[in-house]
């Protein structure tokens, strides 16, 4: 409302699992066309942050909104969620690409892409299939339409998963370590696709261990450790010239 370019606005996010405080007062915003990379050691809260943003986990405290769709408001430090219809509407704003792809194994590539638009958004089947064909081409998966996921390599599966998320025209696309389950050769193809999306000004939030990729593709980088944002800024600054010792140590260990 105040800033229409702000596609994601998360303020003072807190989340604990039992006694373990995983997110401690995290705030971040993502603007239209921005690519944000989240880096940091395992267990630092990156994935939980992403899962809270994609409504797979609920925040304990904080506010979250997508554009003018307010998902939670912070009321005295407690995150108060909107009703079912609000969550449903919020989900139309974003897509998520999982580390393990999570394609539907019993559906063909085509059906993986078209089923959600057809059965959730009630898009006519022919229209969805035309769009799917286009995305399949864009992902370099021509001729794989009628294959099932188990017939594809991990890299191909992940590209199908990206296409599946794009079918619903999300404003913002989240990636949870999209290449961590892939060997280096297959990683390349997936990173190329994400790079292409960045060039088309797709708004993206990417949790990744690929530092070089983060520096090249992301506009901003957030370094998270111990449930807090240790350092953030322009991608080149944070990765090439980190200020905090923890960031430096992490980047050294990743090389």
């Amino acid at each position: 409302m105040s800033d229409t370019n702000k596609l994601l606005d998360l303020q003072h996010a807190r989340k604990s699992f039992g006694d373990n405080e995983v997110l401690k007062d995290i705030s971040l915003t993502v603007e239209k066309g921005e690519v944000l990379a989240i880096i940091g050691p395992s267990g630092g809260g990156k994935s939980t942050l992403l899962r809270c943003c994609t409504l797979l986990e609920t925040l304990d405290g904080g506010s979250l909104s997508f554009g003018d769709c307010v998902v939670t408001t912070d009321q005295g430090g407690v995150a108060v969620y909107g009703g079912k219809d609000v969550l449903k509407r919020a989900r139309t704003h974003f897509g998520l690409v999982f580390q393990n792809f999570n394609l539907f194994p019993h559906y063909t590539v085509m059906k993986n892409l078209t089923d959600a638009p057809v059965s959730v958004q009630k898009v006519p089947k022919a229209e969805a299939e035309a769009k799917a064909k286009q995305l399949i081409g864009k992902m370099g998966l021509e001729g794989k339409e009628n294959m099932v996921p188990c017939e594809l390599s991990g890299g191909q599966q992940q590209r199908v998963a990206i296409a599946r998320a794009l079918m619903l025209d999300p404003d913002i696309l989240f990636f949870d370590e999209p290449t961590s389950a892939l060997d280096p050769e297959l990683t390349k193809g997936v990173l190329r696709v994400i790079r292409d999306l960045a060039e088309e000004n797709m708004t993206m939030v990417i949790v990744t261990h690929e530092m070089k990729f983060a520096r090249d593709v992301a506009d901003h980088v957030i370094f998270m450790d111990g449930g807090v944002i240790v350092e953030q800024g322009l991608a080149v600054d944070v990765i090439d010239n980190p200020q905090h010792n923890r960031t430096k140590a992490f980047l050294l260990s990743e090389d």
Partner: protein, 238 residues
Amino acid sequence: MGLDGSLTLSTLLMRMGGGLVVTFQIFIITLIGSLPLGVLIALGRMSKVKPLAWFMRLYISFMRGTPLMLQLMAIYYIPYYVFGIKLNLLNIGPMDIAGLHVEIGWVMTACCIGFILNYAAYFAEIYRGGIQSIARGQYEAAEVLGYSSAQTFMKIVLPQVIKRILPAMGNEVITLVKDTSLAFVLALAEMFTVVKQIVASEVTMIPFILAALFYWLFTILAEFVLGRIEKRLSYYHD
């Protein structure tokens, strides 16, 4: 052992054939009723509503923990002993449905109710195992894509569950073929009841041998159908 003039092989087969039709009816009606009922029981058993989950747990435990034969007899007599209803009032028909003359005795109805309630308990546990084996990520992917819970279950989870549980279901289906013979306790004229009567009246073992062959053929047919379904679902693995 042997067949005298009063019972030729063809009349024997005819009488057994009539019994086989009833056996087949029990088999099919039980599957039609218990396969979907099992899904509901499994969902209830896994429900977050604790009293419902506990009730289903108790139900499954009781149905699996008491003899099917006893359950059949109990269901048959309950209307009379508990509600004082004369059992012959519970016969359905005779009536004409779409030109077919239909007449269903309470014996058949009670028998089918018993089989459905019993088999649904076993199926429910097989479904539960299958449903719990589906990875969390499948639910999460469906949720993010906007599927409703019902859509997620019907379109994403259940089809995958069916593939996984097919071998275990095959066991139950084959057991059911033979369990239909328990209907003899209600004197329902299914194959085994007929065979027992013939053996007693004609003093011959041959009907037993034929019955064994019939049951075996029936299970082979069931194995064949299950094999075809398994093959149809083998286009993917996960």
